[in-house]
């Protein structure tokens, strides 16, 4: 009885129903969705650095306390890196270039050593010669931030 109602029996059934999935509409939807997602997709992963700039103007405007020990790094046009420690401790050294480029691995090693020597050191000032490009500056900041949370761009 039920099979008759449903028309499921084979041969001679008046109410056989063949249902075919209409893939054309689904393909249309998929095409539109895929096109939209491809156009709006971003294949770059963006990140951000927190940096500071020394106060411009009268010193009285600055509300931040002066750090006890400050590390100053300067990128020179010829590939040299000069590192100066100022404040409660003093040290200066110059890192020579590596294949005419700045040696950021050595910078990282030196900063790590200095951080172990002076754990209170938490601030770095980074500057460069006028024509030094932004990319190596970012690499230097990247290395400094591993050990020092506060990085200032500029010179006091």
């Amino acid at each position: 009885m039920s099979s008759k109602l449903l028309g499921l029996h084979s041969g001679g059934g008046e109410t056989e129903q063949d249902f075919e999935l209409n893939l054309a509409s689904i393909i249309d939807c998929f095409t539109v969705l895929i096109t939209y997602l491809l156009i709006s997709a971003s294949f770059l992963t963006i990140g951000m650095f927190d940096v500071n700039v020394p106060s411009v103007g009268p010193a009285s405007n600055s509300t931040a306390p002066t750090p006890k020990i400050t590390l100053s790094v300067k990128l020179k046009q010829n590939g040299q890196l000069t590192i100066n420690v100022s404040g409660a401790a003093k040290q200066s050294l110059s890192l020579s270039s590596k294949d005419k480029n700045w040696d950021f691995d050595q910078l990282a090693a030196q900063v790590e050593e200095m951080k172990k020597k002076w754990p209170a050191m938490d601030t770095a000032m980074i500057s460069a010669d006028g024509l030094v490009e932004y990319a190596p500056l970012v690499k230097a900041i990247d290395q400094l931030r591993k050990h020092l949370p506060f990085v200032f761009i500029g010179e006091r």
Partner: protein, 166 residues
């Protein structure tokens, strides 16, 4: 000869049916992949075509704020061109005594005053925060001048936007 024999045994059917089932399978896989990688982050930061961001290994999380973009020919604030440059150098008529650009200074001061303390949803927003998207070839002198302009205008928190180097 062999081809002709083959064609006699298997004549070509004029009506070629498109294999939609296979296409649906492929589209499903591509769609699932794209949906998985679709970013729903708060900020959609996309630099201009002529700005190549530098790469860095370590970075902080992305936040939403006012964008300051430095390209070789123009400085943009929230995608609006403010200061024209030639190869990262300000126009002679636009340069102040301290090396900053007059047009940039005035715009930054105006933008800083306009910045609300809360966003449209009522959440507190840091009005003195600014995102800096600079091309990787930007000379330090230009970058310093731009940062000094922003600092003088009341922006105290700078976030340098980089590409994560994985």
């Amino acid at each position: 000869m062999g081809v002709q024999k083959f064609l006699k045994k298997h004549p070509l059917n004029e009506d070629m049916a498109l294999q939609i089932t296979s296409m649906a399978d492929i589209f499903t896989i591509i769609l699932v992949f794209l949906l998985k990688s679709f970013s729903t982050s708060v900020t959609s930061i996309s630099p201009s075509n002529d700005v190549v961001l530098p790469s860095a290994l370590n970075s902080d999380e992305v936040v939403d704020s006012m964008k300051l973009e430095i390209s070789p020919s123009v400085i943009l604030i929230d995608d609006k061109p403010i200061t024209t440059m030639r190869e990262f150098r300000f126009e002679a008529s636009d340069v102040e005594r301290d090396g900053t650009a007059r047009s940039l200074n005035s715009t930054l001061i105006r933008e800083r005053k306009k910045r609300p303390e809360k966003d449209a949803e009522g959440k507190p927003v840091n009005p003195s925060q600014i995102l800096v998207l600079a091309d990787q070839k930007t000379p330090y002198a230009t970058l310093k001048a731009v940062l000094n302009s922003a600092s003088s205008s009341g922006f105290t928190e700078f976030k340098l936007v980089v590409v994560k180097d994985e």
